[in-house]
């Protein structure tokens, strides 16, 4: 019996969720080819940079940081999709999480590498990157960053893997190929009630542990900027602002991933309208929070009225960065707010559209943080503009498509919706939720008194 025949005879949940592992459509290959070609093009661009140094970028004095650092903040922000959202939903016992946690956790683990590699792409001497370990200087926020991202990657990989073990064991028992991979990854798990109980205890602990780690990651990235004396970087709001922005873009990235998975793998029954509605509500909350943080930040700068700060501020409000700034405001606030505040547009198409706007807007936000401040140093040095070179844009395209490619490949080896958690939802949770709601209701006073 082929793998496809095995899977075709399974009951609905297993059949639908394991189907992508055993059947690959021509359009998958087409998209994979496009993504692989773009990634290779990015790698070629990087080889040019390796050969002749950062001179091939559009960077200059004082525009020391550009596309790579923008993408660094952006990708690490996206990585907050998974672990943080999935952990919060698990801790909050949100039952609608069951079909979306796995796809979210995969985003985290797979995008974090593409984010973490950006500062290395940005190095003038990537051959000396090990100096960060050999000559570590503990007061540098960059070192804190290396530590927190390393910890986050480790923790979120474990957090992705552990809840996947029962599914891996099931795939092993079905005998799907590659057998050795599933045999190895399932680490001898047998799905007994006791094993399940232990597993759930571990997941519960992990979900709590990964939340502060995720918060620390983007806080430290905010501090890289905030701990310098640069106008509009040197701000106490940056830590929390970056965490909020990361969750915001993470939710948007997850919604886009859900919409694509739903379509290409016919998972409409698993990513239902209610999921998009609920994710849309989360997006709405973050939209409003984004507006609040951004307003607070800019008001503080404007009212304080310090000369160097104002030069940067006005370059964004009315100057040479007015277009990216107001486009960011439209993409991060007006578009998602208009779409997500109405039930009628909190459907699949509406939430996806809002999420695309948010992802673009949050990339622009990082551009508006990095570039205008760089071009307005204290002391009023006259500065040129910054135009990214083809090398920087190619590497950016390469890392984007590289992430999409590994995510696509991951869906071919691992069920992108947690099968056992869906089954558990059907078998246990309906009854549990009924009891939970009953427990919320007022006691019978007469019965308690007696």
């Amino acid at each position: 019996m082929t793998d496809l025949e095995i899977v075709s005879r399974l009951p609905q949940d297993e059949r639908m969720l394991l189907m992508p592992l055993v059947r690959t459509t021509p359009s998958f290959w087409r998209w994979a080819a496009v993504m692989a070609a773009t990634t290779l093009w990015g790698a070629f661009a990087y080889s040019q940079q390796l050969r002749s140094g950062l001179g091939v970028t559009g960077l200059n004095t004082p525009e020391y940081w550009g596309i790579y650092i923008i993408c660094f903040v952006f990708f690490i922000g996206i990585s907050h999709a998974g672990t943080l959202i999935s952990a919060i939903l698990r801790v909050a016992n949100a039952e609608w999480r069951r079909s979306i946690t796995r796809s979210a956790e995969f985003i985290t683990v797979l995008v974090i590498g593409f984010g973490a590699v950006q500062p290395i792409l940005d190095l003038g001497r990537p051959d000396r990157v090990l100096n960060v370990v050999l000559h570590a200087q503990p007061f540098s926020p960059l070192l804190w960053d290396v530590l927190s991202i390393g910890l986050y990657f480790t923790a979120s990989s474990i957090y992705l893997y552990v809840p996947m073990i029962p599914d891996l064991a099931r795939i092993r028992d079905l005998g799907l190929r590659p057998r050795l991979l599933y045999w190895f990854l399932a680490i001898g798990y047998r799905d007994t009630p006791q094993a399940r109980h232990t597993l759930e205890r571990i997941i519960a602990v992990l979900a709590v542990v990964v939340i502060p780690i995720a918060v620390s990651v983007h806080t430290v990235i905010g501090w890289i900027f905030a701990l310098t004396l640069r106008p509009m970087w040197h701000s106490a709001i940056f830590g929390p602002y970056f965490v909020m922005g990361a969750i915001f873009s993470g939710i948007a990235a997850l919604i886009i991933a859900m919409a694509i998975l739903r379509r290409v793998y016919n998972l409409g029954a698993y990513f239902k309208d209610v999921h998009f509605n609920n994710m849309g509500l989360l997006l709405l909350v973050m939209t409003v929070l984004w507006f609040y943080f951004t307003f607070a930040e800019h008001l503080t700068v404007w009212y304080g009225g310090e000369e160097a700060e104002l030069a940067t501020l006005y370059s964004k409000l009315t100057g040479s960065f007015a277009v990216p700034f107001w486009l960011m405001v439209a993409c991060c606030f007006f578009v998602p707010f208009a779409l997500m505040s109405r039930r009628a547009t909190r459907n699949v198409a509406g939430t996806t559209l809002a999420s695309v706007a948010v992802v673009i807007g949050m990339w622009l936000e990082r551009y508006n943080i990095v570039v205008p401040t760089s071009l307005h140093p204290r002391g009023g040095m006259t500065a040129l503009h910054y135009f990214p070179s083809w090398v920087e844009l190619s590497i950016m395209a390469g890392t984007f498509s590289g992430f999409v490619l590994v995510y696509m490949v991951a869906t071919k080896f691992f069920p992108i919706v947690s099968i056992w958690e869906i089954q558990e939802g059907r078998e246990k949770s309906v009854e549990e939720v009924k009891q939970r709601v009953a427990a919320y209701l007022p006691d019978d006073v007469a019965a308690v008194a007696s």
Partner: protein
């Protein structure tokens, strides 16, 4: 222990840029040429800034030579992840080219924009090659460089003084910019030695430092112009 510092008299500076040229040849600073200039990628450890204040008819122009400020509390050394830049016991902020990973965090942290990055492999015109200074290492592509107060001159002066078994004198150690200044606008020495002219001038009522409010405590002082 000496605390090396500099006083620049803005009344004496006429903007001739002899200090820039002297620094460039003393420290083997790469010649970027027109391409680097148009890309804003030139390197100039000493940079004579032209500041224009006011509008016509009430205009003032002044020249402010800016080397590394050699801060006593340098923001650049704190952020370096590999300790490629640090402040030594005599207050000079040094740069280890062989360790620098080129992340440019220090350049971003510096409020004076006096740290320079080697965007391209440094090149020297044929005519410059014989004049390269053997006492100063040539920087590779991809690292940060900056003014070191001609630190190599201190080492030479100290060796000479030791050979002659005498203490280091004020005139023994002078950076190239101060040495070349035709109007003697740049004075150099030990800020903690009351006998040195810099120590006296740095206490002059005209003395100020750039962006003093940031608390970086630069060791480069300026004497304000008098009308």
């Amino acid at each position: 222990m000496a605390r090396w510092g500099m006083v620049i008299d803005l009344d004496r500076c006429n903007g001739c840029q002899a200090c820039e040229v002297a620094c460039r040849s003393e420290n083997n600073v790469a010649v970027g040429g027109p391409q680097a200039a148009s890309e804003s990628r030139t390197i100039s450890w000493m940079r004579v800034e032209t500041q224009v204040e006011g509008e016509w008819p009430d205009v003032r122009t002044r020249f402010v030579p800016q080397p590394c400020m050699q801060c006593d509390r340098p923001p650049c050394t704190l952020v370096c992840p590999v300790q490629a830049t640090s402040i030594d016991h005599e207050g000079i902020v040094n740069q280890i080219y062989a360790r620098c990973i080129g992340c440019r965090y220090c350049a971003n942290a510096c409020p004076y924009t006096v740290k320079f990055f080697n965007w391209r492999r440094p090149v020297y015109p044929e005519s410059v090659l014989p004049g390269l200074n053997p006492d100063v290492s040539v920087r590779p592509v991809g690292v940060i460089e900056k003014c070191t107060f001609c630190h190599h001159r201190l080492q030479k002066a100290r060796d000479a003084a030791r050979a002659e078994t005498r203490p280091l004198r004020e005139e023994d150690y002078v950076p190239a910019c101060a040495e070349s200044c035709p109007t003697r606008a740049i004075v150099f020495g030990d800020l903690d030695d009351p006998g040195h002219r810099v120590a006296q001038l740095s206490r002059d009522p005209r003395a100020f430092r750039l962006q003093e409010g940031l608390g970086t405590q630069p060791k480069v002082y300026y004497l304000a112009e008098q009308d």
